[in-house]
Symmetry: C2
Subunit: 372 residues, 2 copies
């Protein structure tokens, strides 16, 4: 195998695939890129066994020759070192050349690197088939769905199922739901596909969101994996086993207390006041009444803080509730609208955060007990 390649395109290809490569793997082969040069282009594959990314750089793109002087073949090269070398070289074109199957020479006009390499056959067998229910998204729709739900998933591995986003559809309406059991984010939208249900790891969803740029993306969902296709790239992810919790039980039906506020100003006020809420991690109290709306916090050792909210609409009587500022801030940001509506069912009931413009996104948050 041998080729001359546009350095910046090659570097982008490697960074894309590198997303799937964990820094530590019990299988040494997974620390490598698998490179395969053929007459269609250079294909690079990386995997940590759970997530696999395969991306291809064509020989010619938009009439520009990206790869020249090539001989077909394949090899495994250390992902860490190849990526760093290609990043640090400063020429427009670099050459790769496999010598004796076990050494790859990487060079431009000035610098010469010789890296130990492995035969492509030493790479583990992976299931790279693509099948299942196809669901298509425009790039911006996909990114919006992910940003509005993924943050609410758990980051802890104690209950692996909660690190997934539950994606399901009856073939017409689809729903993406994530919850860490303290809060929940649900996005509804219309699709036209066969019915599906899948617990997709948040990592796969968010990494694809970063990689797709402006490409449309197609999800291929089977019972044990999801395959994302976009541009010249394919991302394979296993699904998470188990039953996703029945989240509809978390959502109250009736909200007698309803507050409408400017989202970003409300976040600023909560963040300021939460400064002194050090004994209980960023918990503030929201006090609502016909006379005004106020957020406050109190710490025996340090002091107290309060701030009146300007520009609000409130319906419902006198009502106090305490909550984690970051949960409410996340929910307000996910609503992606200037004004947000906070709807409360009662002091110890979960409450709802919705956009004033977009009913397809619903956020539910569990309050905490108030101590003062």
């Amino acid at each position: 195998m041998k080729f001359s390649i546009d350095r910046s395109k090659f570097y982008k290809l490697l960074t894309t695939v590198n997303v799937a490569i964990g820094p530590k793997s019990p299988t040494p082969a997974f620390l490598n890129f698998k490179l395969e040069m053929n007459d269609l282009g250079l294909t690079v594959l990386g995997s940590d066994n759970d997530l696999t990314i395969k991306s291809t750089l064509p020989i010619i793109e938009n009439d520009k020759v990206l790869i020249s002087d090539y001989e077909c073949g394949s090899t495994l090269i250390s992902a860490k070192y190849l990526l760093e070398i290609i990043r640090r070289l400063d020429s427009d074109v670099v050459e790769l050349d496999i010598i004796d199957d076990v050494i790859v020479q990487i060079s431009d006009n000035k610098s010469h690197f010789q890296l130990n390499s492995m035969k492509a056959e030493e790479y583990p067998d992976l299931d790279l088939s693509i099948s299942g229910v196809k669901v298509g998204f425009k790039a911006e729709d996909y990114k919006k769905i992910v940003v509005q739900t993924a943050f609410a998933a758990s980051t802890k591995e104690v209950r692996p199922i909660l690190t997934a986003v539950n994606a399901k559809s009856d073939g017409k309406k689809a729903e993406f739901v994530a919850t860490d059991s303290y809060r929940l984010a649900k996005k509804s939208f219309e699709v036209s596909s066969n019915p599906f249900e899948a617990n997709i790891p948040v990592k796969a969803l968010t990494e694809v969101s970063k990689l797709i740029e402006n490409d449309d993306v197609t999800l291929n969902i089977t019972s044990n994996k999801v395959v994302f296709q976009f541009g010249n790239t394919v991302v394979y992810s296993r699904l998470i086993n188990g039953d996703f919790p029945k989240t509809s039980r978390m959502i109250p039906n009736n909200y007698p207390f309803v507050l409408k506020v400017n989202g970003s100003k409300f976040i600023d006020a909560m963040q300021r006041v939460s400064l002194l809420a050090v004994e209980r991690e960023k918990i503030v109290k929201l006090s609502l009444s016909d006379n005004g709306v106020e957020v406050s916090s109190k710490s025996e050792q340090i002091g107290s803080a309060n701030e009146k909210i300007e520009l609000y609409q409130y319906e419902g009587g006198r009502f106090d509730i305490s909550f984690n500022v970051d949960y409410v801030s996340d929910a307000i940001k996910a609503a992606q609208s200037e004004d947000v509506i906070l709807s409360f069912a009662g002091e110890m009931n979960a409450f709802r955060v919705t956009s004033s413009e977009d009913e397809s996104i619903v956020q539910i948050i569990t309050p905490v007990r108030s101590y003062y």
Copy 2:
């Protein structure tokens, strides 16, 4: 004590003084700012006992009223919380008001904070006298001297004397020297002062360098402390006890091998090649001869790298030497000139890095043994 104050000026005053406050102090009073309001302005003081900063915001500056509606007095307020509150408020003016000597109320039109405070008398006594040998610097000269020497001091507390810069003068010529025992940086310049010698902690020198902006700075050196005066700010630092090593012994007299290169291109080449020098921390070999100049590295497990240096002048015969890339890169950067001169005395002797334009700065680096 009470005042209304320009918020952004107040925030800047607090960040300046906060530089002296350590996040953890065995003396709780040192976790506070000491504020003192009088008819000259607001003075804020912070200290960790080794380093003390005192800075004053005048009541009026350039015809603009910065402080109004004040009552004289003093207090201690938690540095961490006061700084964060003033940072996060978004009004132009904030009000401080001490209530009953133990609570400070901080507010703008919207937000209200009440912080527990302490009486000013509870602050430890500090020696804030200013005496000793006076040495004056223009801001840019001071910053240059610090940037050219401070990096070479030790960051480890094993030999505290090596965490200082040795500043000394016979009254006409002055020298700042720093060494971590593997490398040395020496800056010479002319002064007109009484003779002095002081081992100044690098931290004090570099923090003052960040704070002075365009102000001239005066150092007041006694046998146990140095006081920096600039603008409305005074910085007090203890000196480090002990004898600074006789560094002149580290510097060879005769250099038969002399290489002149473009500094930044040489750094880039070394950094690229050192990528594979993982078994020995960033050690590369420099090979010099009449036929060319090359840097290289080698690792049994990973591979090898080499790069020819373009655009160089070399005098001396065939010669190889190995060294730490970061030490040489630091020295080249400190030289602050496009071309640098590397002068070698022998394979196992310390070598010199100098600017091609400025003879006042000399860098000495110890090589390492070459293994291939």
